[in-house]
Structures are given as C-alpha cells and as structure tokens.
C-alpha cells in the first residue's frame, strides 16, 4: 500500500497535464507483424488464386469435350469439386507452414540487421510482449488467416461448380449437402488448432534462433539439431532425438490428433495415372477427431513445455540483443 501511495504522490508532483492514453501494446505488436510480413496473408491468397484458376480451367477441360458445358458429367464435376476442396486446404496449409517458418526465422533477426531494434526498444513495449506477439502471430494468427482463406476459396469453388452444373442443365443439389462441407471445415479447424499446439516447440525454436544467431538463422536452426542428433548417435550410439524430431515432424500429429489406425501419408494419391483426392476423407477424418486422445498425449504437453522454456529464453535474450 505504501508503495502505491508514494507513486501516486510522485505522479502528482510531476504535474503532467496529459492524461495517459489507454494503450494496447500486444494488439499493435501483432498488427505491426502483419504490416512487416505481408507474405503471411499474401502467400495463402496467391495459392488460393492459383487453385481457383486451375479449377476454373479444369471445369471446362472435360475429356472429349468440344461442347464443353453440354458434356459435363455431374458426378465427375462433383468429384472434381470435392477434390479441389481438399486440395485448397492442403495447399494453403502447406503454404502457410512454409511462410510461417520463414517468418519465425526472420522475426527477431531482421530488426537487428536493419537496426530498427533501437526504434522498437525506444517504445514502452516489453520484451515479453514483443516475443509472445511473434509466437502468437506464427501459431494463431497465420493459421486463422489461412483458415479464412481456405473457407472463402472453397465457397468460391462451390459457387463456380454450381454455376457450371446449372448452365449444363444439371442439378447442383448434391454439391450443397451441408454434411460433408461442415465436416471438412471442422476437420480443417481442428487440424490447424492441433497443428499450432503440436508445432509450437518448433516455432519457438525458430524464433529463439532468430534472436540468437548473428548470421544465417536458417542455417543454425537446422544445423544445431542435426549436430545434436549426430552427437547422440556417435557418442551414445542412440537415436532418441532423431526419432523424436522425425516423429513430431512427419506423422506424429495425425497419430496424436486423430484416432485412425493408419492415415495415408499423402492425402493426394495417384489413381489411374491422374491426380485425384481421397473422396471420402473428410468424413473419415471427421469421425476420427479425438480431442481427448490429443490432450492426453504426453508429447503434446512436453512440446508445450519446451515451447514455453524456449520462449522464456528468447525473452531473456532479447533484453541483451543489439543491432548486428
């Protein structure tokens, strides 16, 4: 209590006429990231645009069709459209992952390279706010942007497919059955959420390296784990680290988040020499959503603990960081 009264009297003595404005450092730090790293929303948009373009071209590109619209096969179009829904999700999610990894590697490196760290540090924004806002952008904002773009793109595909079928004189009703669409959207949402949690230690590691490395953070981010795996293999003759990293990066998430005995490693499979997508997948995956299993997987919590530790280390490190 004493301290508070003392502070108040001090404030009064200073006689500042300006009342303090309410500030939202976290919110503005997040907006700042989106200003600087436009790829976070532009790359998924470009990917969505390409998919839409390819869908439009392929809707008219029907085997043997000189009279394009007349020869539309409704079932085939539906399958094509469904395939594209899934492709939209997969392509945009992959684009986002790549963009986010580069974003993380750059997040606390570029501000030192261009000396703007001096400007950011001249403002009353704590290192905790700065570092957590970057992790938040990587693990929550970017996936949300991707989710919105995926849903919007799927809607556009649905509308185009409907238009094509209606023009061809068919009935688009089958396309609009809400079940599969809703299921697919929920699967996507759940996957993105689970992925954010699952990959959090990797993102935290990349952000840590971007704060720590004096040059080429991308190289260090890969080199250090590689060296650690090699060291373990030679010194101890074991491969626990390698197995753990592989498991987490390659198929661990699907195992942890979905109750499926064996999910196809590749959602896109070759069939009859043509790319096609697992048609029934959204439904199967929807039924396989298993939140309890995910939350009771020890690796999830170990990963979050590692992410928290790395983030704390990054916050500590940023306090000591200066321009390169």
């Amino acid at each position: 209590m004493n301290a508070i009264t003392q502070n108040e009297t001090q404030e009064d003595n200073v006689a500042m006429p300006v009342s303090l404005a309410r500030t939202r450092p976290f919110y503005w730090s997040v907006r700042r990231e989106l200003w600087e790293h436009r790829a976070l929303w532009m790359a998924p948009l470009v990917a969505a645009g390409l998919i839409l373009l390819s869908f439009i071209i392929s809707s008219f590109h029907v085997p043997g069709g000189a009279h394009l619209l007349a020869t539309i096969d409704e079932a085939q179009l539906r399958e094509t459209a469904n395939g594209f829904y899934a492709a939209v999700g997969v392509v945009i999610a992959l684009t986002m992952i790549v963009v986010v990894w580069f974003y993380c590697l750059d997040s606390l490196f570029s501000e030192r390279r261009d000396r703007s760290i001096l400007f950011w540090k001249s403002l009353p924004v704590s290192d905790v706010t700065t570092v957590t806002s970057k992790l938040f952008v990587a693990s929550a904002v970017a996936p949300s942007i991707s989710f919105a773009i995926v849903v919007a793109t799927q809607l556009v595909i649905l509308l185009i497919a409907t238009a094509v079928i209606v023009f061809a004189g068919g009935s688009p009703g089958a396309l609009w059955s809400p079940g599969p669409l809703l299921q697919m959207t929920l699967v996507l949402l759940y996957s993105l959420l689970a992925q954010a949690i699952w990959l959090a230690p990797f993102l935290a590691w990349l952000i840590f390296v971007s704060a720590w490395a004096r040059r080429s953070p991308a190289l260090w981010a890969g080199l250090v784990p590689a060296a650690a795996c090699l060291f373990e293999r030679i010194a101890l003759g074991t491969t626990y680290l390698l197995t753990a990293l592989q498991g987490r990066l390659v198929e661990g998430l699907a195992h942890a988040a979905f109750a499926m005995p064996a999910l196809p490693a590749e959602p896109i499979a070759r069939r009859d020499g043509e790319f096609s997508l697992h048609f029934g997948m959204p439904g199967r995956m929807f039924e396989a959503i298993d939140v309890v299993r995910f939350l009771s997987t020890p690796e999830v919590w170990v990963g979050l603990a590692i992410a928290a530790a790395l983030t704390a280390a990054t916050v500590w490190m940023r306090r000591y960081r200066e321009p390169l």
Binding site: M16, W28, R31, E36, S116, T129
Partner: protein, 287 residues
C-alpha cells in the same frame, strides 16, 4: 530527484573498455551536452541509460534500473539513438498509428502538426524517404511524446542548416520545460552551445569535464595574445595554445581575468575550443 545518477558505470567489450568507471548526476530540468570524440564511450553511456545494454556499476534513470525495467522506463523516456533506426518497411501512417497505439504519452495531433510542416507523405514507406525526411519523421514522433527524459544521439545528422536551427528552436521553445531533462550528443558542438545548461566531456571511457555552462563561462578564458606578450602568457600556465592567422590564442582554466586582459583580447571560449584543448592535445598534434 536526479534524472540520471551513475556511480562507477563501467562497460567493456572483451578487452576494450568503453566506459571506465564513470560517475555523474544529471538533475531534472537540465539540458546536457555529452561531447566526446568517436569511440569515447558516448553511445555506450547512452545505451546503458536507455536500457539497451547491460552494464557494471550503479545506474538509476528516473529512479529505475534501465536494463531491467526498460519498458516501464520508456513510458517516460524517449530517444533517438541514430537516424537510421526506423524500420525501412514501415509506412509513415503506420509508424504514427503504432506509436499512438503503444505509447500512453504520445500526442497524435502534435505529431501530425510536426509532419504537416514537412513534405513527408503519409503513404510513403520509410525506405522512400530522404535522409532529412527520415530524421524529421523520427523527430515528429519523439517530440510528440510527453517524456521526462529525452535522449538525442546525433539528432540532426543529415538535416540541412535551416531545419537544424528550426529543430533546436522548437526543442527550446515548444518542448523544453523545467520538468524535463534532455541529453544530447553531437559533433556539431557550436550549434548546441547556446542551448545547453551543462556540458560533459567523455574521453576514452572517462569523464574529463562535467560542469554547468555558468561555471564554464567563469572558469575558462581564451585570450588572443599580442605578439609581444606571448612569453608572459606562457608563464601563466595556459591549458592550450594555438595559432590563428599568425596570432597566438591561449586558453586558461581559472585564471585572473584582469591579468589576462593586459595580454590581449579576452573572451569566453567555445565548447569546441575547450574540447580541442582538453582532448585534441591528448590525441596528438595531428588533430
């Protein structure tokens, strides 16, 4: 309360010592010029004050440890560390929005008014601005912050003469009042002499001069000595002697003005003259 209080402030990078146990105290309401040659430790000292670098010794800025409490300190302190620090990708309007969003003492209308006096476009990115515009933008942001301590490290680098004059005038007239403290470093010493209330010289990590401008004016005397009096002047133990247009100019510390007046024209030296006398000498005659 002192705005800044340092005791035994020390900082070394490996074997080279940037600050070698500096003690000083800057009272509230002063405008202090921190002057020193390149590599004297000015920037290191300012960085320590601003919480940008860890240090040894004791340092309190507005009663806080700057390194541990930087973000809270920055509510009451603002600084321009170097003209090149605004991020190149940011737009002028975004910079204003961001500072307004995170700084409780930022007055947006003030910043807009500063910017209105320049030719800076709101939609420009920082990388498109000229060096002078960049400084103007940064100053507009900083001067709109109602801070208790303002630290300016070479604030007018890259600005033309007119804007520099305008800047120091507005610093004195619009910004400064006796509850604020300003610390400035610059190599253009002549321009800030009339602005300062105190001057500090830093050389090789040590404080070699710390005095108020009133003291400065009473303590130091410069005499343009008539040729026949040169020997007499040398006998009075001047700090420094130099030749200008064939005449000898002597600089004295705490000498009897009456006695000196007999030797030639007496005047108060400029800070630059004293700087050369105190620090130029130690760096060899080449300077």
């Amino acid at each position: 309360m002192a705005a800044i209080e340092a005791r035994g402030l020390r900082k070394s990078f490996g074997k080279s010592v940037a600050l070698d146990g500096v003690d000083f105290k800057i009272e509230e309401g002063r405008i202090v010029g921190l002057i020193g040659p390149n590599g004297a430790g000015k920037t290191t000292a300012l960085k320590a004050v601003l919480g940008l670098t860890p240090f040894e010794g004791e340092l309190k800025v507005l009663g806080r440890n700057p390194h541990l409490d930087r973000h809270r300190l920055m509510q009451e302190v603002c600084f321009i560390a170097d003209v090149a620090v605004l991020p190149r990708w940011i737009r002028v309007s975004q910079a204003v929005d961001y500072v307004a969003g995170v700084h409780p003492r930022f007055d947006r209308t003030k910043a807009e008014a500063f910017l209105a006096r320049t030719s800076i476009k709101r939609t420009s990115r920082v990388r498109e601005l000229s060096k002078g515009m960049l400084t103007q933008l940064h100053l507009a942001l900083v001067m709109a912050i109602d801070a208790r301590l303002l630290v300016l490290d070479e604030p007018t680098l890259g600005l033309d003469l007119l804007y520099r004059k305008q800047f120091y005038d507005s610093l004195l007239n619009d910004y400064f009042d006796h509850s604020r403290t300003i610390v400035i470093t610059t190599h253009q010493v002549e321009e800030i002499q009339h602005v300062l209330t105190d001057v500090m010289f830093l050389d090789k990590g040590r404080l070699v001069l710390d005095c108020s401008m009133e003291d400065f004016e009473t303590r130091y005397v410069e005499v343009m000595v008539h040729p026949e009096n040169v020997a007499a002047a040398r006998a009075l133990a001047p700090m420094h002697e130099r030749q200008v247009f064939g005449r000898s100019i002597f600089l004295f510390d705490r000498a009897d003005r009456g006695q000196l007046a007999a030797l030639g024209e007496v005047r108060t030296p400029s800070i630059a003259d004293l700087f050369v006398a105190m620090i130029g000498g130690s760096q060899g005659a080449a300077a």
